[in-house]
């Protein structure tokens, strides 16, 4: 098992293989199962991701509290006119669609958490579609994403309560960026640059859910996270390097999370949760 991004990249370079190939091999060995078994499980997760994304772009899904809903469908409907381009609009729409399904008590895959569950499917499904990749290739790229997420979990955290939103949506964005670089045929080294670029963009992002619910600002942050993942991958694929290595960025993220006030870590006491509108909504929801 690899404990740093550097180790992951160097090992894949040495073997001349993709990161996902390495991850599947290591994982099968450590679990004592076949790579095929791992692959099929991940493939079933991809199916759940697709179902959630489709459901949320096709119909207006409202949350239990009623404060969010239908965002995925709305942007999907406007995708052809999107100034940011159809790829970004589709990815962001799917990300919000999955988030909508989550907030409505629908079935999703935590990636890495439920609050950030739209980013990886939104970005990865869309890039896979644009690049005409097979499902199997997309499944492979999810192993790369998961490996990156695991290294962030080991060396920092994936919990908003510990590290703020940078640990949830930030990590999801880095994971998605890594998967996209691999799907687009980038090198393992470029993958690490994409991870670093994605994480740096949201360094210090606070976790400030209104009424403590995974809705405001979470649904729209999933959209932004998916868009950011694609752009981070584009930068890396263009040969732009992160001056700060990915592992150092991850350590910095951990430290920033530690320095962050508890009010900004999922307690609904700071950020947009503490605004007059946030508080009013929270009061209303508590009494519903």
């Amino acid at each position: 098992m690899t404990n740093t991004i550097e180790e992951l990249v160097v090992t894949a370079e040495k073997l001349g293989c993709r990161i996902s190939t390495l991850v599947k091999e290591q994982e099968a060995k450590s679990k004592g199962c076949t790579e095929e078994e791992l692959f099929l499980k991940m493939k079933s997760y991809l199916e759940v991701m697709k179902q959630a994304a489709n459901k949320g772009v096709q119909s207006e899904i409202r949350s239990i509290s009623g404060i969010t809903g239908g965002e995925g469908k709305k942007l999907w409907g406007a995708r052809s006119k999107a100034l940011s381009g159809e790829i970004i609009a589709k990815a962001a729409a799917r990300a919000m669609a999955v988030s909508n399904v989550n907030a409505s008590m629908g079935r999703i895959v935590a990636a890495p958490t439920a609050g950030s569950c739209g980013i990886v499917p939104g970005a990865v499904l869309t890039v896979g579609e644009i690049l005409l990749k097979t499902d199997d290739e997309v499944v492979d790229s999810l192993f790369t994403a998961a490996a990156v997420g695991r290294i962030i979990a080991l060396n920092a955290t994936l919990a908003g309560a510990e590290g703020g939103c940078q640990a949830e949506c930030g990590a999801a964005s880095a994971m998605a960026a890594a998967a996209i670089v691999e799907l687009a045929g980038g090198s393992p080294r470029q993958t690490s640059h994409a991870v670093a670029i994605a994480l740096k963009a949201v360094m210090g992002l606070v976790c400030d859910p209104v009424a403590g619910l995974v809705e405001v600002p979470c649904v729209k942050r999933n959209a932004m996270g998916a868009a950011e993942a694609i752009l981070a991958a584009d930068l890396a694929l263009a040969g732009i390097e992160s001056v700060i290595p990915a592992d150092e960025v991850i350590s910095a993220m951990k430290e920033v999370g530690r320095m962050m006030s508890d009010k900004l870590k999922e307690t609904a006491m700071g950020g947009v949760a503490a605004t007059p509108t946030g508080k009013k909504l929270s009061e209303k929801i508590r009494n519903f």
């Binding site: 991850v23 994982e27 791992l38 499980k41 991940m42 079933s44 997760y45 759940v48 949350s63 239990i64 509290s65 399904v101 989550n102 907030a103 409505s104 008590m105 629908g106 079935r107 999703i108 895959v109 935590a110 990636a111 890495p112 958490t113 439920a114 609050g115 569950c117 990886v120 999810l142 192993f143 994403a145 998961a146 490996a147 997420g149 695991r150 979990a153 080991l154 994936l158 919990a159 309560a161 994971m175 009424a211 403590g212 619910l213 995974v214 809705e215 609904a268 929801i285 508590r286 519903f288």
Partner: protein, 218 residues
């Protein structure tokens, strides 16, 4: 750390601790009762009560009592399912209690022939912990094959149970004994690495001074 803990699990949203964890706690309470619950009084504490309702915690605990798994879409309609299956439930909000974990729930359950009271908490990422059964302090996750005995507090009971496990080649991962008062009733929780044979419940029930045995696997 499992790669499928990073991408995964498949779950019903919106929250791993407030929804998926709540289903798991309901599942455990059902297993501890050991039969179909007919009456349930559920008390949600702290964050489980405050934020939980918006995260479907109320539906999730009922779904758990009905035996649904955290990835089943019918969690959303747990109230209707409960009525259909004849489970009479009442949900209450407990007083804010700082000494309890933020996501704590107490179940008071009645089946056709059994009764139990179970308290547990959801500790993050869908993982849970049972903290009390019928007034005895316990601590276990339900992630292992589990044996619970209620027995008379006297020398030799623990030894006869563990001797039997040794005989069956079952390795104990964790165990804990607690009692309310010396010489009265005690409760023991054993979590094992190995699968439990079906006969084990009956064998342990036949040991003198063991009043009740509960066994379950994940």
């Amino acid at each position: 750390m499992d790669i499928f803990d990073i991408i995964g699990p498949v779950m019903i949203g919106p929250s791993s601790s407030h929804t998926a964890g709540a289903v798991r706690l309901g599942n455990l309470a059902r297993k501890i009762l050991g039969e179909e619950p007919k009456k349930a009084k559920i008390i949600l504490f702290n964050s489980f009560a405050r934020t939980g309702r918006g995260h479907g915690t109320d539906k999730a605990v009922i779904a758990g009592l009905l035996g649904f798994t955290p990835d089943e879409e019918r969690i959303k309609t747990a109230f209707e399912e409960a009525r259909r299956r004849g489970l009479a439930y009442q949900l209450f909000t407990g007083e804010i209690d700082e000494s309890l974990h933020p996501n704590t729930v107490t179940f008071e359950l009645e089946g056709t022939s059994k009764k139990t009271q179970v308290t547990g908490c959801s500790i993050g990422g869908g993982r849970v912990k049972v903290t009390a059964i019928d007034g005895f302090d316990v601590e276990f996750s339900g992630g292992y094959p589990t044996i619970i005995t209620v027995h008379k507090d006297r020398p030799g009971i623990v030894a006869s149970v563990t001797a039997h496990l040794a005989h069956e080649g079952i390795n104990i991962a964790q165990m804990r004994v607690s009692r309310k008062k010396r010489g009265q009733e005690a409760l023991m929780v054993i979590e094992t690495d190995d699968k439990l044979p079906e006969t084990i419940k009956e064998v342990l029930e036949n040991i003198k001074d063991i009043h009740r045995v509960i066994t379950f696997s994940e």
